[in-house]
Symmetry: C2
């Protein structure tokens, strides 16, 4: 039984709360009538405002051309209960598989991009490609997050973090150190 | 009492094992006689071979010019027992503080760069800046890892992963799913 979350809008400047810890994510994309999902581990926050993400997507990946041509994608954050889905999506190709159907996932219309949100994920960040300078040489996309949706609870998701060698680190406890930060360094 | 690790060489193509999960890292740098350390959360693996990392470092940061001018730095992976050091380094500036001295850290000579390794960290990745195309607009460095050192044990470090708002996620258990991956997708 898959989880379904009630979601709220998240200010796009706050996506680092969920992405900076480094979870493995699912990237959904659409170009014309073709939709796909890929598993991605190589991404980083790049700026608060505009809200920016950088990510490396191998050109051999079926999603690469969908994202390059449409200039859009959605970054979805799956949780530990979805580990079989995360691994499965990373081990088949959209050229042969309708991944929404094969993995029983629900495509929900996004607000600002044509790529679909994955309903079963904890968070969904709608993104537009804003810089392709590093695309030819490094397959590196620079994205702007234009709309963010996040589950109303739990406060933090239990995420999976890939290490290679078929091994994931599962996120542990969250600890706040409020007295130890200068305000400008939060 | 700070940990000291016995370390071994790590093939540079294997650094994703420790960086892809998204730990907060300490970046050490040197330009002429000036040495500094900064705390960094915005980084991603970009390639296996050459071994590449991309990272965003605010230009206002004291380390920015040291790294830009020298074209080098070391990415060090601290562990949970060093959380006060990680926070402390992120909340003072190298313009006013000798961070190695202030935080009781040991600078060890690197092999291929002039920036020092931080002995007390679990892993140390010696890096050279190889692409500055995104530096003027986004403060984004592309690095090549030219030498990697990693502790011989434990197999995986307990790392800290910043979420903003003075809150860290602490890395949890590691789980292998060897039967579920195609070899080319490991």
């Amino acid at each position: 039984m898959k989880k379904t979350y009630r979601k709220k809008d998240l200010p796009v400047a706050d996506i680092r709360r969920y992405l900076e810890p480094g979870p493995t994510v699912l990237v959904s994309s659409r170009w014309k009538d073709t939709v796909n999902i890929m598993t991605m581990g190589w991404h980083t926050v790049m700026e608060f405002s505009p809200s920016m993400i950088g990510c490396m997507i191998t050109a051999a990946n079926y999603s690469f051309e969908l994202i390059r041509k449409s200039g859009e994608c959605v970054i979805n954050i799956p949780t530990y209960d979805m580990i079989d889905t995360v691994i499965g999506i990373g081990n088949c190709t959209g050229a042969e598989t309708d991944k929404f159907s094969a993995f029983g996932l629900t495509a929900v219309a996004a607000e600002k991009v044509k790529a679909p949100l994955i309903k079963e994920c904890y968070a969904n960040f709608e993104c537009k490609v804003i810089d392709k300078h590093l695309l030819p040489k490094y397959n590196f996309f620079v994205l702007e997050v234009v709309k963010a949706h996040v589950a109303t609870s739990p406060k933090y998701p239990t995420t999976v973090h890939y290490r290679g060698d078929a091994t994931f680190m599962i996120s542990g406890k969250n600890i706040a150190y409020p007295g130890k930060f200068k305000r400008q360094n939060l």
